[in-house]
Symmetry: none
Subunit: 370 residues, 2 copies
Amino acid sequence: MQVVTPDSCRLPINAIIQGDCIQVLQMFPEQSVDLIFADPPYNLQLRHALLRPDQTVVDGVDDAWDRFEDVQEYDAFTRAWLGACRRVLKDDGTIWVIGTYHNIFRVGAIMMDLGYWILNDVIWHKTNPMPNFRGVRFQNATETLIWAKKSADQKKYTFNYHAMKHLNEEKQMQNVWHLPLCTGAERVKINGKKAHSTQKPEALLYRVILSSSNPGDLVLDPFFGSGTTGVVARRLKRHYIGIELDPAYVEIARTRIEKTPVSVCDDAMLATRSKRDMPRVGFGQLVEAQYLRVGQNLYSSDRNVVAIVRADSQLQWGNITSSIHRIAALAQHKPAFNGWEYWHYEDQAGRLVSIDSLREQYRFDQGVAD
Amino acid sequence: MQVVTPDSCRLPINAIIQGDCIQVLQMFPEQSVDLIFADPPYNLQLRHALLRPDQTVVDGVDDAWDRFEDVQEYDAFTRAWLGACRRVLKDDGTIWVIGTYHNIFRVGAIMMDLGYWILNDVIWHKTNPMPNFRGVRFQNATETLIWAKKSADQKKYTFNYHAMKHLNEEKQMQNVWHLPLCTGAERVKINGKKAHSTQKPEALLYRVILSSSNPGDLVLDPFFGSGTTGVVARRLKRHYIGIELDPAYVEIARTRIEKTPVSVCDDAMLATRSKRDMPRVGFGQLVEAQYLRVGQNLYSSDRNVVAIVRADSQLQWGNITSSIHRIAALAQHKPAFNGWEYWHYEDQAGRLVSIDSLREQYRFDQGVAD
DNA sequence: GGGCTAGGTGAATCTCCGA
DNA sequence: CTCGGAGATTCACCTAGCC
């Protein structure tokens, strides 16, 4: 009579496996991991070098692992690893996948096709993103994480609602996370150069693992890279399995995890930025929201200076176009001036009212809507 | 002999067409609109077609098939309207599509498949989102907009970078927009109940239209709904075409737009001119017109580099003769540099003044002369 | 040590025109 | 088509070095 080994015993717990995750996962038993975090290649398709305005070169992602023949190949690859992950995921487990607009739509559609059921799309809003140096698009300040359960009718999954609420100053954690890039001392470097071109910040993994797993759970990362998932899992007393193709990365991750003490980090460092860090109300928002009309006149308190509101929220004063502050300064021959104090609009009765009161009104209206 | 009507005359400008956008768009000429904003339905209606946890189980196939049927229908619908939109979009136009995690991944993947090339995914971060009442997920505070051009190799498209930068307090606009939901007086109501369940805020459309179109452009909205696109297009002096299936919504939108005052301001208040679309002034023109003298010295801002203006509008630096750009680059040991930023002349008081200001002066003088 | 400045850098689909 | 030159374009944060 054959003795059946418990599934979990056939898994190398707290280990890094060097190999292609699609093949390695085939050797795992079904339904054996509690949580998956996957940071697959994004297929960025960067064709030219990019220069900063000072002509220095941006060190972009040109790694071989991010190059695919075409979209079909990328889709087939994505379907294969997501399918393999789904097989080894427990029926009450969930998966996180991170990406950008280059790949996340294809990834999300394939996840749905495979039967995953999306719980949230979480936006990582970077506090210090790279600018758009050429001024031809909006500054790309986000990456997107898809959090999904294994199937639509899955009843159970782990979500530590209150842990997230505590991290967020006792308010519900939103699907937008304001976190800085991985830089400075946290960034793994070899001879002064970054060891991995896309190392994720530990704070990001902290939220992922803390929110959707429990101590003792098994966390799988099929694209282990520099091993951030292992580092944070260890700190939070979860087990981990990392799969990584490149032996060099395996070694980097192994060294890094060994140096990680098993301890809990400072929650305060990971807390969501509070509202006072949110963008303040700018003059542009008043124009957009029609608290002021394009073409409307603004006046100095003595009505001697008149300027026109433009669609781009600058003011037009004679043939000069500039900000409310700059034109207030110019009109008074001062080096600088606070335009919020200087400018007034005419109310329906023809009285002058400070534009600063509109800003208060805007804040009030938003507050009421909460 | 047949008289061919100009394409634009076959389009009902500033009108709402009642009908299915896929059919209606077939009657439009190719390449006839400058900008598209689409807020498609995302009711996937999958609730009753739930997938079993294990897809390999035989009796699970029926459910899986039903579900797949529904998604296929949604995909076919999405492919049809996005394809129809692409046909009527001008080759230098762009498209915006808004959605949530329920549909945006399928929409994005299909857009890529159809040849659209994504420029940004823009996150609308709601300042006042609805809470997650049951506490089982992160509070869903976002919707996603995909901004795309018609093809990957498309060279030209409209992006009013500086208008956006002015709106954002002189820093480049990010792909995350903090805007409140459409509430209060802006929300169209009938007998106290909201007239449309997903009415978008005008501030959102303000950014869409202002950033990626110019006054006089034609904006198409194939899912017109309550007509926010038409209202904002009218405010910003763009033309619009709305297509809407439901006659009740057509009527609501028509009434609403009629009540919107046509903007009476000067077009100059609506457009932000960038350096890129100003007439090019060459360095030679400044020399010819004697804004600079032959033999005059030009200086770097720290006066460490000095060159002489030649009659052929090149600079002489030691024994090197070349353009203002090339010598600025050589002097700094850089592969390239913008000479307009680098070089200065001495004014009568001996102060250094950027030669770029001379170019501005030249443009101004020419404009006055016109 | 502290404060200041200069320099470096990050998952980025990053120009346009004429010869 | 390619090639080359003109010329437009950046934000937050970290580190090293100097006073």
